[in-house]
Symmetry: none
Subunit: 401 residues, 2 copies
């Protein structure tokens, strides 16, 4: 793991290259009719062929029984203990829309709501007003001035936005304003510790102004703020592992996670094919690449078993395109399982395979949950994946004399 101070001297910089393909929501569970998981159902000749020449295993994202969000799921694969390095909700939302966050900035998830003449909540989501309605409201909120802090409001989608505070001595240790029920007034924020009093007062000033500014609106006339968070202070991957790492992801949130981990984020297109093309283009410039495949997770979250199978089958033909680069280490992992039958992230161990010149196959025939459970890697924590990658790449030398 990245915090393993004792290993710091074992990392060496070499020309060898590592490609980490993260298939979002990779793992699944058996379909009740067939007894086969999404991976077992899908026709995946290229992933299966790779498994036959790889070291296979299962990864546990956080600990047994704990389903992670995207933040902890990815940080773990990059080697950060997800129970120690926590990205707060506001910060992750900001990363998701690529709002630049500096160390010390505080970000919050905001949403528009509707209050009555007495200021009591009527609709906590303002009828889920569409973006075309909320974006102009965000522009107006963005112009609010509070002394001593720079405030910015960025539209996300529908009734949701991000509030970013930038300035000296800000704190994330303030309470949320959503009372979770209607019929009462949105709460004022409160400081959770004395050092947060200043931030708390600034946010309350913003809220008072926001209310005045929107008083005449009839669909959305107030805002609520949740998940105040600063960026965690992560030791940069490149520094710890002595790598020059790059991230390639079509979705902004994963670019954000790459950024906070200290990777260079390379611009790419909207599809995974674009990402692979970007990988080819920049292959000579970096020795570590994180490349992200999103569609499998989305289908799993929708509870659509067949769609998830299809999304995996669409990934498969691009595997040879990556292998054509002949990286010293190519690993395929998942940030967590997203079983279609659960329509959500889950805690189940996730299939994993790593290919290098040291892996000659171990009798595993297919890339899926059951087959990988029999692999030589066994069942490991996701935080240990980078150690395997580094070792197979000759970048992690002997520990201890």
């Amino acid at each position: 793991m990245i915090d393993q101070e004792q290993l710091r001297d074992c990392y060496v910089n070499t020309p060898s290259k590592i490609v980490m393909l993260v298939v979002d929501g990779l793992g699944g569970l058996a379909h009740p009719d067939t007894g086969l998981s999404e991976l077992e159902t899908a026709h995946l000749p290229n992933l299966d062929a790779m498994a036959q020449e790889s070291a296979c295993g299962l990864t546990t994202p956080v600990m047994p029984g704990v389903a992670p969000g995207s933040g902890p799921g990815h940080l773990a694969l990059f080697g950060y203990d997800p129970l120690k390095h926590i990205i707060g909700r506001g910060a992750l939302e900001a990363l998701g829309i690529e709002t630049p966050l500096n160390p010390g900035d505080v970000a919050a998830r905001g949403n528009f709501c509707l209050v009555d003449g007495d200021g009591l909540l009527v609709d906590r989501r303002a009828g889920r007003i569409p973006t075309e309605f909320s974006a102009p409201l965000c522009e107006r909120l963005d112009r609010i001035q509070v002394p001593g802090v720079e405030l910015n409001v960025y539209p996300v989608q529908d009734y949701r936005f991000v509030l970013r505070l930038r300035g000296e001595g800000l704190s994330e240790r303030i309470t949320e304003t959503d009372p979770q029920v209607v019929g009462v007034a949105p709460l004022a924020v409160e400081a959770l510790e004395p050092q947060a009093e200043k931030t708390s007062a600034m946010v309350n000033d913003f809220l008072v102004q926001a209310k005045q500014l929107m008083a005449e609106e009839d669909r959305a006339n107030m805002v609520m703020l949740r998940g105040f968070a600063q960026l965690p202070n992560l030791p940069p991957m490149g520094e710890v592992y002595r790598l020059n790492p790059a991230g390639i992801a079509a979705y902004p949130m994963y670019r954000g996670l790459a950024t906070v981990s200290g990777m260079r984020v390379i611009s790419t297109g909207k599809t995974f094919a674009d990402e692979v093309e970007t990988l080819h283009q920049y292959y000579k410039d970096h020795d570590f690449f994180f490349i992200h495949y999103k569609p499998a997770d989305a289908a799993g979250e929708d509870g659509d078993f067949d769609a998830k199978v299809k999304r995996l089958e669409e990934l498969d033909p691009l595997i040879p395109e990556i292998r054509r680069l002949n990286p010293d280490v190519l690993l395929v992992a998942g940030d967590h399982a997203t079983p279609a039958i659960m329509a959500s992230h889950s805690w189940h161990p996730v299939p994993f395979m790593l290919h290098s010149k040291l892996t000659r196959g171990e009798g595993i025939k297919t890339f899926d949950e059951r087959a990988c459970s029999q692999g030589s890697v066994g069942s490991i924590l996701a935080t240990q994946v980078m150690l395997l990658a580094m070792s197979h790449a000759g970048k992690l030398t002997k520990f201890g004399p």
Copy 2:
């Protein structure tokens, strides 16, 4: 684990129900003649049928190679790190005879011994005098008065008893009085830290009076005290997991372990069938049940392979009685292995299975050490069992955004 502060916000209260069946000493080792373990030898149609529909694995009670006592074995299954939350010997002995212990009380294991005219030990166990002889002695010791503390003496069995001290500012940090050899006098207790001086003086006062009181006895004329201990301060299961937990156990020690973990202990009869009846009776009142099966461990401790097989076969027909309640999560686990060929607790990983609507079977045909090692749960720490149970019950939500 119960100490994982970061997970606290992920636990949610739902109506779903969890039943945790702990089969004491569940795991075993192969009989030298057959190569089959107790579980592999036993005819267990109901446990096997459940395994075919469960997620299976192995649990390690403390860490590989460490055989636990009943205390750590159970605490781990309830989610408490057994290396951190330690129940001292005196407190566990008191729990074992259901001596009420309040926070702050100090309990010690006592035993009668025989000294000669010079006060030197002749027999450290007083010829293992039977209970009918020791119980009246306990009654006399119970009447000893020491200023500033309430002292009580409770018979356990044969030459053993429990001494309980109740009062303000007591400490468990005092030394034992058994010199471990004969021919010398029993030791006085000594304070291990300044705050324990008062308790130490009180116990020495008790010992002087006990010696005078029994001076005329010829079979047992002195006592020795060991394992001074207070109850550990465990975060209550119900509070951490947002559960309303109950414990059902025919044996007092396991009721005691349920109590210190914050469960409500429900009175039951002397057999496991009584326990299952109690489970049915109170099923609507709680969302978590710990139910304990003792006989397998006792047979294993006796080194009686065939008896352990039989005790497991006697458990099996009651499994459908539990399943008839259709709990959202039913899990069968062991606090540790008690291989008959070792006639003792052991460190070996213990078979484990968990049934929920998400488990559709994974090709495991039987419930035993070998089959469970191939299950999807893999090899986990016993402290992680509660996380799996909570997740399968929908009571542990996603960690991190």
